[in-house]
Symmetry: C2
Subunit: 253 residues, 2 copies
């Protein structure tokens, strides 16, 4: 039984890409078969595994718009990656008049899904057609939230979008959890932000909190996950703990 | 003569909102008349001046889609703000079939522009219709870039979009400068990122570099610019220096 999870928050720079990759690799370490899909035209997930989006001859644009099989674009990295390039920005326009435009990703996944235990989808910082495709194809959503004031608000908008998706496209998709990221325990601001998150969202907030460390910015330069960059570090352990929380929640789904 | 500047980068969390507000207030301190427009449905610019987007009866959605005069939504804060709320996310769809959909903001600005020396526009982290409206209405674009590896790439996509805008909608709009933000001088990664920026973009990179400090996250909690939150601090000075650089460049435009 494959579990499909989207990492989504229209607030920018909250560690959607970083979380997609590192949850994926943490699951892989526990011998789960994992595919990660890059649905962001910036291609940050692809870059984070050493793929240069400018040199891709085939990528998610071709899968969604030209119905090229997902297998034709998947690359073996630390985990399997279906990469994206700038072309993907053109998919929103190219798909806008197509019947079933919201289900392009769901259809593409049908061919390969059974080979994986987890499919993780990185989304751009918006609630446009690319993110809607990801939410339509998903069983659940993980919402990374930076532990800073401006990030604390966007969740109402995401929840409204999810309601629309549940009514029209995918009745079962719901938020699996809110992940506090980039937490700086040394600042009062960070501690207050975590308090607000826990007060507002209670049990929906994961117990795992990912702390702020420059190592997360360094690892993508080498095209490596945090597990490969600093296997014994606290940063890698945070995502290992998160993967375990997800597995526990998954078991009782 | 009014100068209209958009703050744009589809990479998320690079300090677009923070820069729009603080450049605006720095110009205001030098007695320029400034209007800031929130074109992001998240309403972060509005929030940063103490406006609660949930309580707005009128906002940028009404201006763009229902042609409500801009004057009806402008609020006097530290600078004049035309606020946004979640409704604005519906503007892309509502405008998509309207003739002249890319010029809705430019048209709305005509009525009030003459009253200001500077109009500054905060954009969402995407290159959709809201950002295209901002770029069409602007004389120049300021591109904040976080001093981290994953942020360094998105500029090619923005440049492509600007070319399209120049050919079809606004022949004069071009990048006024790239602003290095959230620079952490203590890390090798930060210093290397700045080096890469300067090597790749030379003169286009502003001399001003905004350093990373938690004070930028604290100020919006109180609905205040960094100048109001910590008037004598280095953080406020960085944006004052940037405002001066802009004025010098403007003089020779
Ligand atoms: N826990 C962390 N501590 C410090 N830096 C982090 C952390 N997690 C991610 N980062 C860094 O912060 C920046 C933003 O993270 P990332 O790109 O993953 O966010 P995102 O939500 O995917 O952004 P976008 O909205 O543009 O897609 C990156 O440079 C990343 O390396
Ligand atoms: N120089 C800085 N140092 C530290 N934190 C900063 C700095 N500038 C901005 N911030 C904080 O970083 C976060 C992201 O900044 P901001 O929201 O302005 O970016 P943005 O590009 O507008 O994001 P989005 O893509 O979601 O619109 C905010 O919490 C802000 O308070
Ligand atoms: Mg990302
Ligand atoms: Mg913003």
């Amino acid at each position: 039984m494959t579990t499909v999870l989207a990492f989504s928050n229209q607030k920018g720079g909250v560690a959607k890409t970083t979380s997609t990759l590192n949850v994926g690799v943490a699951l892989r370490e526990m011998h789960y078969r994992v595919l990660a899909i890059d649905m962001d035209p910036q291609g940050n997930l692809s870059m984070s595994q050493g793929i240069n989006p400018d040199f891709l001859t085939r990528s998610m644009f071709n899968v969604l718009v030209q119905r090229v099989p997902l297998d034709d674009v998947i690359q073996r990295c630390e985990i399997d990656i279906a990469p994206a390039s700038i072309d993907l920005a053109g998919a929103e326009l190219a798909l806008s008049s197509v019947i079933g435009r919201e289900r392009a990703l769901e259809k593409a996944l049908m061919q390969v899904k059974h080979r994986y235990d987890f499919v993780l989808i990185d989304t751009p910082p918006s609630l446009g057609l690319l993110t809607i495709n990801a939410l339509t194809a998903s069983d659940g959503v993980i919402v990374p939230v930076q532990c800073e004031y401006l990030s604390l608000r966007g969740l109402a908008q995401l929840e409204k979008t999810l309601e629309m998706i549940r009514e029209n496209l995918n009745p079962d998709v719901r938020i699996r959890g809110i992940l506090p990221t980039m937490f700086d325990a040394r600042t009062i601001h960070g501690r207050e932000a975590i308090e607000i998150l826990k007060e507002s969202f209670g049990e929906t907030v994961f117990k795992t909190v990912v702390r702020k460390t420059i190592k997360f910015a360094e690892a993508p330069v080498q095209g490596r996950s945090i597990m490969a960059y600093e296997p014994e570090g606290a940063a890698a352990d945070a995502y290992r703990n998160l993967a375990k929380e997800l597995l526990n929640a998954n078991a009782s789904e």
